[in-house]
């Protein structure tokens, strides 16, 4: 077998593959284009002024977070149905990526709030429901980190993953249902109908680039979770082998030296 062929058949030494490298390259180019359009080419908005540039980060991060949480819910349902490790790890991986993006959404919103409202935070309906949603998924990740039997962990977290997603439409519609400070919906509302030209293009470009980035992160995070489970199994097997070897050694040492060790 040639060196090249051997290289092709060798197992990867990371979570990367040809597909993820292509995905990563597309995401990088996309984000560079977002930076160019969002910070340089796109003009200030007639109403929002320069703060529209914060929304080029805020809107895609919240879109990715919502998508991630929906994937978690769907994978949780699939886990309760199929009971396979794949769905459990997919749900967990997507939730973690979603929490990262949702934290960024909140942070960007605070920056926008400081410029527009004069304060970083106000306890108005959208922000209250956002906080509840964020804390729910933090709780989901905490539950997953509790050491327990995988099937129990998968079942409990799947139930939380399904229940938590209910808060997304509530958070999303909060600006319509209750009077608050937050501006009306710009995603799935959908994008502001008055937006046009390079601003509209930049918004869609940013959404697309962040979705590709999300796909890249999710694949890598899933593979990492998969490796984590396999490594844990390896560690368990090694520990059991050590115990067996220990038992054999103390057994062969005879009654004098064969006292069981705790």
């Amino acid at each position: 077998m040639s060196a090249l062929a051997a290289d092709r058949t060798a197992a990867p030494t990371s979570t990367g593959s040809t597909a993820t490298r292509v995905l990563g390259a597309v995401a990088l180019v996309g984000l560079a284009a977002v930076a160019l359009f969002g910070l340089v080419i796109s003009p200030p908005d007639a109403e929002l002024g320069e703060t529209i540039r914060i929304l080029y980060m805020h809107v895609p991060t919240v879109s990715v977070a919502y998508l991630a949480f929906v994937i978690t819910a769907v994978a949780s349902v699939a886990y309760l149905w199929k009971r396979t490790e794949f769905w459990d790890l997919l749900a967990a991986s997507s939730a973690e990526v979603g929490v990262v993006f949702f934290a960024l959404t909140i942070f960007n919103g605070m920056m926008w709030g400081k410029v527009t409202w004069g304060v970083f935070w106000r306890w108005e309906p959208r922000l209250v429901t956002t906080t509840v949603l964020f804390l729910t998924y933090i709780g989901y990740l905490v539950v997953r980190s509790i050491p327990t039997e995988p099937r129990t962990r998968g079942t409990v977290s799947a139930v939380i993953g399904i229940m938590a997603v209910v808060n997304i439409p509530i958070t999303h519609k909060a600006v319509d249902w209750w009077r608050g400070l937050h501006q009306s919906r710009t995603v799935l509302g959908t994008v502001d109908p008055e937006m046009q030209g390079s601003q509209l293009f930049t918004t869609y470009l940013s959404l697309t680039a962040f979705m590709v980035l999300f796909a890249w992160l999710l694949v890598h995070r899933f593979r990492l979770a998969w490796l984590g489970e396999r490594a844990a199994e390896q560690g368990l097997e090694a520990a059991l082998a050590d115990r067996r070897a220990e038992g054999q050694t103390s057994g062969s040492a005879g009654p004098a030296g064969g006292g069981a060790t705790a």
């Binding site: 060798a10 197992a11 990867p12 030494t13 990371s14 979570t15 990367g16 593959s17 597909a19 984000l31 930076a35 969002g38 910070l39 002024g49 320069e50 703060t51 540039r53 914060i54 980060m57 805020h58 991060t61 990262v100 934290a103 960024l104 942070f107 960007n108 920056m111 926008w112 400081k114 410029v115 980035l213 890249w216 992160l217 890598h220 995070r221 593979r223 990492l224 998969w226 490796l227 984590g228 396999r230 490594a231 390896q234 560690g235």
Partner: protein, 44 residues
């Protein structure tokens, strides 16, 4: 602080957090790959 400063912070923090998170995933993936048998890390 000026509006531009808040915009710069928003963008910088977003890109920095994502870059750090991605770097952590990749680095941890490499570490775990060394501890896992070949047959368990064949991706599509």
């Amino acid at each position: 602080m000026s509006t531009n400063a808040y915009i710069a912070i928003a963008w910088a923090v977003t890109f920095a957090v994502i870059a750090l998170y991605a770097a952590w995933i990749v680095r941890r993936g490499r570490e775990l790959s060394r501890r896992v048998p070949e047959e368990d890390r064949r991706w599509m």
